[in-house]
């Protein structure tokens, strides 16, 4: 009830490592399963675990939106499309994208970046602001709203609208591709 006094976090490492493990296993399953529906289900699991991590970061609004949009909305449409593809033929055919080398390089670079960030931070160099951002008098939902809409601090409104314009372009593109005559 009282927004100023959230419960102290309980068993944080346990939940973090649990959720992180679910995410990593889910991510690996997404790229290793040959059956596209299994991949999609693994991706949903990973996305839900990500929502859990958002919750741990005191961002319940982001977690809720993550569940509604990604796990509930986008992934349902994914499954919708995948199920119309003949899975049997898909499984028999040889996978033909030969991008594993580029993929490995990209993944290695990203991993190296993470390790570099971790080591430099522990050595005393500060890459990130110390501690987590706390909302003194409001919670995450209100914080997001004031970042978007407030006249003093609302600096992300333009970026937000641009992002939604991007989605609109995608929707119009889909309509143009699907309809022969408009």
């Amino acid at each position: 009830m009282n927004p100023a006094a959230p419960n102290p976090p309980v068993a944080t490492p346990f939940f973090f490592y649990g959720l992180a493990a679910v995410m990593i296993i889910g991510g690996i399953l997404v790229i290793t399963r040959k059956n596209a529906v299994h991949s999609a289900l693994a991706l949903i699991t990973a996305l839900l675990a990500q929502a859990g991590i958002y919750l741990m970061l005191y961002a319940p609004f982001v977690a809720g939106v993550q569940i509604i949009l990604y796990a509930g909305g986008i992934m349902v449409l994914f499954l919708f499309v995948i199920m119309l593809i003949s899975i049997e033929r898909n499984m028999k055919e040889r996978q033909f994208n030969k991008q594993w080398l580029i993929g490995m390089v990209a993944a290695g670079a990203l991993g190296g970046l993470f390790i570099a960030v971790y080591t430099t931070t522990t050595k005393g160099h500060v890459l990130f602001p110390e501690g987590r951002v706390t909302y003194q008098d409001m919670q995450n939902t209100q914080g997001v709203a004031s970042l978007l809409f407030s006249q003093q601090t609302g600096t992300y409104m333009f970026a937000f609208e641009i992002a939604s314009l991007l989605l609109l372009v995608a929707i119009i593109g889909a309509v143009v591709m699907a309809k022969k005559r408009i």
């Binding site: 609004f61 809720g64 569940i67 509604i68 509930g72 349902v76 199920m83 995450n140």
Partner: protein, 430 residues
């Protein structure tokens, strides 16, 4: 040991917080068990009531054999389902087939974590309560889609595709209606997404959101009431399981225990969306007329209603006991009905006791409002013919969505009318 007892009793004096908000694991677990048991009993009761009410609407008697007036029929049904063979079709995707019912049940039950049965009678209160409810209940479509796909059969696949298309389209209209109600909370105090906060805002406003900005609140409620029937795949929007076309839709290949999980999930999802509607527009746990009849005497009168209702139901049972056939074969049935009436009357008497009735009345009013919705569900099923799929999509996208958008803008404009008027005056003076 002493510390444990102290930990357990420390919450008892707390009259302002839910156990989740107070961080008391013991009482949170107790509440979870209570909600789970209550929900299961409600689903069992709904099973009996639906068959009975539909039967009476069609001038039949409905279940009459198992127990007095078929009261034990749900138990017989449950036993039958548990003993049935659990069949997995030959070409099915075993793992996904096995997981699908659990996804549906988990989604349907998890939402009850935030349902406010009273100011403190909820498992927990989240800052994102309504968002959580909408999000988690939207996950149940995943279970339905995977169930339809994993069955490796045509009817379930078509049912699953219909279901996902329907649920995704009506979620939009539903969301718009919900946003307009949430906007109304922001007028008196700062706005909130918390389920308890929404009911508190209605109390502070002195009006249920159903009647606020008449008729805007009413229209939002109607949009939600239509969308929620489509969301739960119930008649007249039960195309995913339209038995005349698709046998049983997405759960055609399921049997026994797994099928009963789908059944359980469907009914608890119905209760869940009804409780969203009750919380957002019908004042949640607030009793009728909290403002017009607000004197302490009326408080007393309304606190007697729960007990009186149960006494009335017990009385009905006794009336029907007297009307039972006097043949010796009906003796056990008559005794059973009299026993059920005594049980109801005893519950009613306990609810009348001073001290108990103050605690019970919130939950009672919430449950009574939800029960009204459950009756509506049965009523729809008994009266409306099924929509055709293109008609369903037309209603969702061409009627409810534009209405919802217009409603959203109108609600915002009406809520900000003082500011808009001021701006307009400034502009005109210039």
């Amino acid at each position: 040991m002493h510390e444990l007892i102290e930990y357990i009793t420390s919450y008892l004096g707390n009259t302002t917080q839910t156990p989740g908000a107070a961080g008391n694991f013991f009482w949170a677990t107790v509440y979870i068990l209570l909600v789970f048991v209550g929900l299961s009993v409600a689903v069992i009761a709904m099973n009996w009531l639906e068959r009975k009410i539909l039967a009476h609407m069609q001038v039949r008697l409905g279940p009459m054999r198992v127990g007095p007036h078929g009261l034990l029929q749900p138990i017989a049904d449950a036993l039958k389902l548990l003993l049935k063979e659990d069949i997995i079709p030959d070409g099915a995707d075993k793992l996904v087939f096995w997981i699908a019912p659990f996804i549906v049940v988990l989604a349907a039950f998890t939402v009850f974590v935030v349902v406010p049965f009273g100011p403190t009678a909820a498992i927990t209160d989240m800052n994102i309560g309504i968002l959580f409810m909408l999000g988690v209940s939207s996950l149940s479509v995943l279970g339905i889609v995977t169930a339809g796909w994993a069955s490796n059969s045509h009817y379930p696949l078509i049912g699953a595709l219909r279901s996902s298309a329907q649920m995704v389209s009506y979620e939009v209209a539903m969301g718009l209606a919900v946003v307009s109600a949430i906007m109304m909370t922001s007028l008196s105090d700062h706005g909130t997404l918390s389920m308890i906060g929404i009911v508190e805002a209605q109390r502070a406003d002195g009006i249920w959101f159903l009647f606020k900005f008449f008729p805007l609140g009413l229209i939002a409620f109607v949009i939600f009431a239509i969308a929620m029937v489509a969301e739960t795949n119930r008649a007249p929007f039960d195309l995913p399981e339209a038995e005349s076309e698709l046998t049983a839709g997405f759960h055609t290949e399921y049997s026994g225990f797994r099928w009963s999980l789908f059944f359980l999930a469907e009914y608890s999802a119905m209760i869940a969306v009804s409780s969203i509607a009750v919380t957002l527009w019908l004042g949640g746990w607030l009793r009728p007329f909290p403002n017009a009849l607000s004197s302490p005497i009326w408080d007393q009168v309304f606190s007697l209603v729960p007990g009186a209702t149960f006494l009335f139901l017990g009385g009905l049972c006794f009336y029907n006991t007297a009307r039972m056939p006097k043949h010796p074969l009906f003796r056990i049935q008559t005794m059973g009905l009299a026993g059920f009436g005594t049980l109801l009357a005893l519950i009613g008497l306990v609810m009348l006791v001073h001290g108990v009735r103050e605690h019970v009345q919130n939950v009672f009013w919430f449950a009574a409002k939800v029960a009204a919705f459950m009756y509506l569900y049965i009523w729809y099923r008994g009266t409306f013919p099924r929509y055709r799929f293109d008609q369903l999509m037309k209603v969702g996208w061409k009627v409810l969505l534009p209405t919802g958008l217009a409603l959203l803008i109108l609600t915002a404009a009406f809520g900000m009318r003082a500011e808009i008027w001021q701006q307009l005056q400034e502009v005109l003076h210039l």
